[in-house]
Assembly symmetry: C2
Homo-oligomer: 321 residues x 2
């Protein structure tokens, strides 16, 4: 990898079989069927969930090849998730079936910020296998979030994943979506998350993530701090105010491309998806960032984390990029 990712160049990716390998949480979002701010809605819908798995579904629709490495339980919920991936035409060879319940997040649809209830089970039992190693060696981009590093043994798995990418070449994207509620009890997760920034290439903290990790500060200060921690490219998203992106040499501001905001769920995953798809398709870094924001804007018009995305080129044209 280059020392600086130039905005006016494409990021060189090795010619490998798989475009994006996501490693981590594949889980059920159990969501109330109605908006509810007083715990009165009794009915729920089970939805495909887990941020990296959403990215895999998205990039497939955008026109590149994903692979998913995750762990589910030997139960009806795990079978549902695997089935959803297969229906989308995504290989499930790297889905491990482990001795724990399929992980779940119970979410209340809310106009205020909903407070999720986390049920960690199978997801963090993800093991480092020879199959996973082979997939890493053959993937252009490897992506993970804070979920697998929040607990052992999946944390050890991610450490091995990073080592293997570093040895065999490849780009690492990391979503520093730190939240104390997913972290194992009795550990300061913040220090561990910070230690990861120097081992990956691209990070995309939201302003909330940044505040949880670094305390309250100005966006520019966040950029500096994440760069100091070792990230090569920092994409700091600011909601309706767009994003600031720094490669350590210069900082670009991107305006939000959203024209209509119906539901923000999955907007960050949509960004990653468009951005990765564009990188794989060889767009300049600056263009790839714009395409990521365009895919995010497209997703914002629809309800749910997973929407029926068209090919990347369709969105590129639609947003005049």
């Amino acid at each position: 990898m280059a020392n600086v990712f130039e905005f006016e160049a494409s990021i060189p990716l090795s010619d490998k079989k798989h475009d994006v390998l996501t490693v981590g949480e594949l889980l059920i979002d159990m969501m109330t069927t109605e908006y509810d701010d007083s715990d009165t809605c009794d009915t729920y819908q089970k939805l495909f969930g887990g941020s990296p798995s959403n990215i895999a579904l998205n990039v497939k629709k955008l026109g590149i090849t994903p692979l998913v490495a995750s762990a589910v339980g030997d139960d009806g919920l795990g079978r549902f998730l695997v089935d959803q991936l297969q229906q989308a035409g995504i290989a499930t060879d790297l889905i491990q079936c482990v001795d724990d319940s399929t992980s779940m997040v119970v979410v209340t649809k809310s106009v205020a910020t909903p407070i999720p209830i986390f049920y960690r089970g199978a997801d963090y039992q993800l093991a480092y296998t020879s199959g996973l190693e082979e997939a890493i060696i053959n993937s252009k981009i490897v992506h993970f979030s804070c979920w697998p590093i929040s607990r052992v043994p999946s944390r050890d798995t991610i450490e091995s994943v990073i080592d293997t990418v570093r040895k065999h070449g490849g780009l690492i994207g990391f979503d520093p979506n730190y939240h104390p509620m997913i972290w194992q009890k009795g550990e300061n997760g913040i220090d561990y998350v910070k230690s990861i920034f120097g081992k990956v290439d691209i990070v995309k903290p939201s302003e909330d993530d940044a505040e949880r990790l670094l305390g309250k500060a100005e966006p520019e200060r966040y950029l500096d701090y994440f760069l100091e921690l070792g990230a090569k490219l920092v994409i700091l998203t600011l909601g309706k105010d767009g994003a600031l992106v720094s490669n350590g040499k210069e900082t670009l501001a991107f305006n939000s491309l959203a024209t209509q905001v119906v539901d923000t769920t999955g907007a960050g995953d949509a960004f990653w998806s468009g951005f990765y798809a564009a990188l794989v398709k060889g767009y300049l870094l600056k263009e790839a960032l714009s395409l990521g924001f365009a895919v995010s804007a497209y997703k914002l018009k629809y309800t749910g984390a997973i929407v029926d995305l068209p090919h990347l080129e369709f969105i590129k044209e639609k947003y005049g990029l």
Copy 2:
């Protein structure tokens, strides 16, 4: 307590403030809204659950005074459960709010035997508190199942509960509903469950429970074995074939009183409820057992673990007891 519980006598209970104290799982049953044998139903309903908590709701309706000691999370599901108890007029002072997600069981309505998916969280964080100790001292009957003893720290809590009952007098009912899926990994739960029989008074294994604990055998052999383990009264339920009950001196056979079986969920809890209510109301042991089976038969006519039970005397009359 007497050495033998005579069928033709009532069990003498001290004059205490609370009739039945249930200690253990208070949780959400997340159940598919449709019958489903192929994981295709996507909608679920959240229901009040946890066997001891169901017993508490039931006995309140039957006309005696319950108290519930449980642990829930500081989340919407925990608030829902506490609210349900309060609506039923049951004191919730002994519900502990702990730093873990409210426990949940995901269940598929099925004509075959449904395979539940367990999410243990808050329930096994139940601590032994001075409030709990006071409640134990002031309760005629204390009831628990295999859930709290399946994991630490709630196992330690139950051991203290048993010690306190033994010191201050009181009857202990234990539901040996052993299942390897709820047990903590890497431990042979069977030996531990067996060790509990000698520390309690009344146990009600189903034939399935007995087989899981002792292997396949004739019902009479199960009775002997549970008595040898130290139980004073063994109520072995045999589904449609009724039950065998032994006090170590004699064994009585009870026919099922069911006239119509719509849903078996919660039938065992309904038995415990009717049985405890009758013991508290001073019926002879033999009558109390019959009343337990009558309440169970009444419940079997309706769907769900919790049904709108009438007063015990109404059921007594209805079943000609």
